[in-house]
Symmetry: D2
Subunit: 141 residues, 4 copies
C-alpha cells in the first residue's frame, strides 16, 4: 500500500457562514491529496492525461468527523493499493496538523478511460509499472 | 416520504478541463436540492438557523453515473423521510432534464445541533411539525 | 443598449465565515448574468462555442457596495452595447430583490477568439446580427 | 513598500472547460497572496479577526494577461504600502513559475471595520505597528 501526506491551508474562500469549511470543499482537498500521491510516484496526473488517459470519479464518500477552520493547516493522507481492474480506489484521512485530530475520512473511486473514446479500459502499462516500483520501494524502506 | 424537484443550470464555473461538471460541485447541487425541499415545506433552512439550530453534514455519498455539461438544465430530486433521531438523511437523484438520464445519485446525512452549544439534539418540535404536515398533505393528494 | 435581468439565490456554498457572500463569487454571478443576457438574444453562449468562438475575459472589475446574505434573492442586471471591435464590455449591477439595494457593480471585458487558433478576431457576423436584431427590437418596444 | 511572494499550484477544480483557470478563481489566489503577506509580517489575518477587526473588500480588479493551466506552479506577488486611512489597497501580479510569464495583475481595496459594529474605522495601532516594523526591516535589508 502506498501512503502519501500533503499539507494544505484552509482558505477564507473554503469556509461558509457556519464558520468552518464547506462540506463540498473536501472533495477538492481529496483531489489535491491524490494529485500529490501520484506526483510522489513520479507519475503526475497531468502526465497521465498527456498519455491519453483520464480518471473521472465514479463514486465519492466523505465522513465529516470534526470542523476545520480558517487558516488551519491540514494534513491530507492519501492511500492506495494497486489493482489492475479499471476501477481504482483511493482512501483519504484529513487531520488538523496542530492537534492531529481527524477532520474527515473518505474515498474516491475512479475509472480509467481513454480520452479519445471515453471508454473504460484497464490501467495502462506505464501506470501499473509506476505503482509497482513505488510498492517495491516502500517495502525496501 | 417527501419528494421535491428543483431545476438548476450548469454554470461555466462548474465545469473543469475534463469538459464536464467537477466532481465536488454535486455537493453544492445537493445543497440547493435540500434547501428547496425545506422551503417547499414552509420551513426555509434560513428559518431553521434563525431559531437557533444548524444541520451540519456527518456524511455524504455521490455515485457519478453520467457527465453533465455546460448549460445543461438539471433536475435535482431530493427525498426525505421523517425520523426523530438527531441524524437525518436526504437522498438525491440528479437528472439531465432534456433526456431524463441519471447524472448522479447520492445522500447526505446531517445532525441537528444547537447553534449556541454545538451539541447534538433531537429535531425540534417546529421541525417535526412541518415535516408531519407535509407528509399528511402528500398522502391526501 | 441591451439590458437583461436575471434572478439567482445565494447558496450556503457562496458564503464565507464573514457571514456574507465571498468576494470571488460575484464573478460567477456576473457569468450567470451575461449567459442569460446572451440567451435572451437567441444566442446562448454554448452556441457561440459550437460555432468555434470563445470569449475569455481580459479584465474584470467589481465594486462591493453592500453585503449579500445566505438565501437572499439577487437580481443581476447585465447591460451591453454592440461594438465591432474584438473586445466587448458587459456591465453589471446586482441588487437584493427584497430591498432593491445595490450589492455590487462591475464590468467584464472579453475578447473574441477562434477556438482553433486562440487568436483574437472581430465579432463574427452571426453574433453582430443577433445583437443588432435585439437592439432594433428594444427600440421598437 | 512591502512585497511578498507565495507559490500555489493550480488544481483541477480551478479549471473550466476552456481548459484553463476560471476567471473567478484569481480572487481566491489574491486572497492567498495577501494572507501570506500578512503572515510574513507576523500578523496573520486570523489574528486581525481575533482582535475584533475585519477587512472586507470594497473593490477588486483583475487584468487577465495569459492563461494558467492545470498543475501549473504560480507565484503570487502581493505588494502593499502603509496608509492610515480606513481603506487599504493591495496589488498583485501572478506569474507562471516555469516561464515567469505574467498570468494576471490586479488589486483589491479593503476597508477596516470593527466586527462588532460593522463600522469603518482607521487601521488599529497593532496593525500600523506591524506594517511600520516590516517597512523598516525592508529598508535595512
Amino acid at each position: 500500500m502506498i501512503v502519501h501526506r500533503h499539507e494544505i491551508r484552509v482558505r477564507y474562500a473554503d469556509t461558509d457562514k457556519m464558520q468552518f469549511v464547506y462540506n463540498g470543499k473536501y472533495l477538492e482537498y481529496f483531489e489535491v491529496g491524490r494529485t500529490e500521491l501520484l506526483r510522489s510516484l513520479g507519475l503526475p496526473y497531468s502526465e497521465v492525461e498527456k498519455r491519453g488517459y483520464q480518471l473521472p470519479l465514479v463514486e465519492a464518500n466523505i465522513k465529516y468527523k470534526s470542523a476545520a477552520f480558517y487558516d488551519d493547516l491540514l494534513i491530507i493522507e492519501s492511500s492506495y493499493q494497486l489493482e489492475t481492474t479499471p476501477i481504482i480506489q483511493i482512501n483519504y484521512t484529513i487531520y488538523r496538523k496542530e492537534t492531529m485530530e481527524i477532520i474527515a475520512e473518505g474515498f474516491t473511486k475512479h475509472i480509467f478511460i481513454k480520452e479519445e473514446t471515453k471508454k473504460a479500459v484497464r490501467p495502462p502499462e506505464f501506470y501499473i509499472q509506476a505503482i509497482q516500483n513505488a510498492e517495491e520501494n516502500a517495502r525496501e524502506n
